[in-house]
């Protein structure tokens, strides 16, 4: 069964590169460049993603707020969230909002893939 991953980042090139990486690795990927649409998690068929990769600093919204929100909802609480950021110091704050993992930008593709696989096992 193909796993669905939602990637949220405000940089289109990063979104594109991560989508390429994940599709190449055999995942089904949806992307969003805005924090506000991330709350509309369900795809057109009403399905929830199996994992979310979420940037910390989004234009318009803080990824940590989204993370805390998702982790507080019963229907989304179980979805693993891997947060990514160019601020290495953000590691502590993302754990505080319930994120399952943190990967500092820039990262090796293997590091991100390893994190994804760890939570989809």
């Amino acid at each position: 069964m193909t796993k669905h991953i939602l990637v949220v980042d405000d940089d289109p090139d990063i979104l594109d590169a991560i989508e390429w990486l994940l599709v190449d690795a055999g995942y089904e990927v949806r992307t969003s460049d805005k924090g506000d649409s991330a709350e509309n998690l369900r795809d057109t068929n009403g399905g929830l993603p199996d994992l979310i990769i979420l940037d910390v600093l989004l234009s318009g919204k803080d990824g940590r707020t989204i993370c805390r929100h998702l982790k507080s909802r019963p229907d989304t609480r179980g979805i693993p969230i891997v947060m990514i950021s160019a601020h290495p110091g953000a590691a502590g704050s993302v754990r505080a909002v319930g994120a399952d993992d943190f990967v500092a930008k820039p990262f090796d593709v293997d590091v991100l893939l390893a994190a994804v696989e760890r939570h989809l096992r």
Binding site: D11, I14, A17, W20, L21, D24, K105, F107, V109
Partner: protein, 714 residues
């Protein structure tokens, strides 16, 4: 009185006029002339001859000597034979100005006796001590004939030398005492000393006039009890003074206590009392004798100096001048004033109150209200506005009611000003960039202290130091703002730089993967080089960000427990550290659990390892060792490379430091790695040291404290 001897030497042929007509003794008739004529006369003559006074009888207007007794001979130094029957002017001619002869001449007209008083003259050759000064009390008495006309003169002189001498001695003594007294009194005024004598048993204090003067009273005004004295002691000081005296008495020690008093006119002064206590047989204090010394000037000078010194320290240690000026104002009260306010001009040229301090906090609120109700009129020809316009200080040694009346704008302001109860005030300008930008106002009220030029000089010194501190603070603020802007810029820039680097790295790796699948080895190699350059770029960005955080004191610091040995192994085996050229040997002991930021410590170890590899291009291995020693854990990273000249050992940790050696120019970098590493180590309570000689490799040691500062159980 040099005419007197001449007067005494007066003589005249006697015209028999003395007979029966002398006012002293009507029957008196000089026996020398007619010794056998009358027994009574002989007796009188005999009496005159033996009298304990010098006596001469001059007869007629020419003052002819008719009688002289031996004491007279002795007094004038002439024998009777030389004088008798001859006019006085002839035999004793040394008549000064002829004045005494004139006096005797006039006696024939007036008939009045003449008292010459004490006459000073040298002792004659017939006297015991010729030449010595002697004094005679000389009286001249006219004698009258039967019709009441003056017919002769009786001179009567008593040797009063002894009395005069005694009196002179007394006078000298008195004069000496007067001088002494004057000197003492002067000394007391200058030294400001006054004495007291307290009868403890009857509780009476005898005040010397000089002490009363010190307290501003007239002599005799202050004779009262010890309590009366205490009522003049400044209320805040009374308890301390009482305790100090009681303690001295109980310890049988002399009394030494310093306190403030309130003088009769309401002004204040500092006194030092020194007293000796006399005790009765039962051991109770009977009497205290002592002095008060006015130490006001010394105290105020001490206060001024102490205040200035404290204020300077404050001004130099803090760069936050708003709070500093507030502290300075707080220090000023009550040491140098009862009120202190500091006003500064804001950028719009409006006066802003920076500090208002009064001994009583309620009064501070009241002062703020006062200022709000009655803002400073910037056009005022005096006070702070004038000080700010002219840059000249103002000193009001004594604020009178007339001054308040003159300066108040209306009745309400006058009553407010009066309610302040100001005694004295001074205003000094604070400068910045050559312009007055504010002022310090010091006012005395309850303390009654009157400011002097010395106080003004102190206040000006304070203001100049405050000015300097303010300039420094402004520069510092500007620098801080610039630094904060720089840090913010670096922080934003590094984030923005990382975004393209992230996608660049991702694309390079993805392209590399595809090339690998296609077996395109050349592309894989080129892409891996590209990736390694991206990594270097990433590290430079990270270092810049770290430095800016360190400078701003904002380096994040996670705290967790971790095993140092495990961390060292992890770093040593990480693909970032190891290249094909070097083997990394790790010699480690049992786990060492530390508390700190694992990632940051890992960053330090990685940096040391990367340096070791970088600076040992011709060697094949790096040795790492982890050991525990007492209170610390140490990670040694030893390479066999080019080494570092000892003169650079202290500098390798400096920011942007690169060894300036032509043969070592081949090692690129910003020179930030060791600086950041040492900062991280120090933030963990540790340090990094270096041991190296040129050409013989280097050992860098990361030393970290063990938790709790105590060795862990192994």
């Amino acid at each position: 009185m040099d005419s007197v001897p001449d007067y005494l030497q007066t003589g005249d042929p006697a015209p028999d006029a003395l007979k029966g007509s002398s006012s002293i003794e009507p029957e008196l008739e000089p026996g020398d002339l007619e010794p056998q004529q009358d027994t009574g006369r002989n007796q009188a003559t005999s009496l005159l001859m033996q009298a304990p006074a010098a006596i001469a009888v001059l007869r007629g207007p020419n003052h002819v000597f008719e009688l002289v007794n031996p004491l007279y001979e002795r007094m004038v130094g002439r024998k009777a034979g030389d004088l008798m029957g001859r006019p006085g002017r002839d035999v004793l001619p040394r008549v000064t100005d002829g004045r005494m002869w004139e006096i005797l001449d006039r006696m024939y007209v007036t008939g009045e006796p003449y008292d010459a008083g004490e006459v000073e003259l040298p002792r004659s050759q017939y006297d015991d001590h010729p030449g010595e000064l002697s004094w005679y009390n000389i009286v001249s008495q006219p004698t009258f004939d039967h019709v009441g006309a003056v017919d002769g003169i009786l001179l009567h002189a008593v040797d009063v030398t002894e009395q005069v001498r005694s009196r002179q001695r007394v006078e000298e003594l008195v004069a000496e005492l007067e001088t002494e007294r004057a000197r003492l009194s002067l000394g007391q005024r200058v030294g400001k000393i006054g004495t007291f004598d307290r009868d403890v048993v009857h509780d009476r204090v005898i005040w010397a006039a000089d002490l009363e003067a010190l307290y501003g009273y007239e002599p005799g005004e202050l004779q009262g009890s010890g309590r009366d004295w205490m009522s003049m002691v400044y209320p805040d000081d009374r308890l301390r003074v009482r305790d100090s005296i009681a303690r001295s008495m109980s310890e049988r020690q002399p009394i030494h206590v310093e306190f403030r008093i309130i003088r009769k006119d309401g002004s204040s002064a500092w006194m030092r009392a020194d007293g000796m206590v006399q005790y009765g047989e039962d051991g109770s204090a009977q009497r205290v004798i002592g002095v008060n010394v006015d130490i006001t000037e010394r105290k105020l000078a001490e206060d001024n100096l102490r205040f200035l010194s404290n204020a300077s320290t404050l001004l130099s240690t803090s760069l936050d001048y708003d709070s500093t000026l507030n502290t300075v104002a707080t220090l000023a009260v009550p040491n140098v004033g009862d009120w202190c306010s500091i006003e500064m001009l804001d950028p719009e040229g409006e006066l802003q109150s920076v500090a208002v301090v009064h001994k009583d906090p309620e009064r501070v609120e009241w002062a703020r209200e006062l200022r709000a109700q009655s803002p400073i009129d910037m056009s005022s020809p005096q006070g702070l506005p004038q000080v700010l316009r002219s840059g000249n200080s103002e000193l009001y040694p004594h604020i009178t009611d007339e001054m308040l009346v003159a300066s108040a704008r209306d009745e309400r302001e006058l009553s407010l000003a009066r309610s302040l109860g100001m005694t004295s005030a001074m205003i000094v300008p604070i400068w910045s960039g050559g312009m007055p930008i504010g002022g310090i106002t010091l006012v005395t009220t309850e303390s009654r202290r009157r400011y002097t030029e010395t106080d003004l000089a102190m206040a000006e010194e304070l203001a100049s130091r405050a000015s300097l501190a303010i300039d420094n603070a402004r520069l510092y603020r500007q620098a801080q703002t610039a630094l904060a802007l720089r840090d913010e810029f670096i922080s934003i820039a590094s984030h923005e730089l990382k975004t393209p680097v992230t996608s660049l790295k991702l694309y390079a790796q993805m392209v590399g993967r595809q090339a690998l699948r296609k077996g395109d080895d050349a592309t894989v190699l080129q892409l891996s080089k590209m990736e390694s350059q991206v990594d270097k770029l990433t590290k430079l960005i990270a270092n810049l960000l770290d430095v800016s955080k360190i400078e701003a004191g904002k380096l994040e610091h996670q705290v967790e427990e971790f095993d140092l040995v495990e961390l060292v192994r992890e770093v040593a085996e990480s693909p970032k550290a190891v290249d094909e050229s070097h083997a990394v040997w790790v010699e480690a002991c049992d786990p060492i659990v530390l508390t700190g930021d694992r990632d940051r410590i890992g960053q330090v170890i990685l940096n040391l390892l990367a340096n070791a590899i970088k600076y040992s291009p011709n060697s094949e291995k790096v040795e790492m060792r982890v050991l525990r020693d007492g209170m610390t854990a140490t990670v040694d990273v030893h390479d066999f490379g080019i080494g570092i000249d000892p003169r650079f050992h202290n500098h390798v940790f400096d920011r942007f430091f690169q060894v300036a050696d032509p043969e070592e120019r081949t090692f690129p970098g910003l020179g930030l790695g060791l600086y950041i590493s040492r900062e991280i180590a120090r933030r963990h309570g540790g340090d990094i040291t270096v041991d190296s000689t040129k050409g013989n490799g280097s050992t860098f040691s990361l030393v970290l404290p063990l938790p709790g500062g105590a060795p862990q159980a192994s």
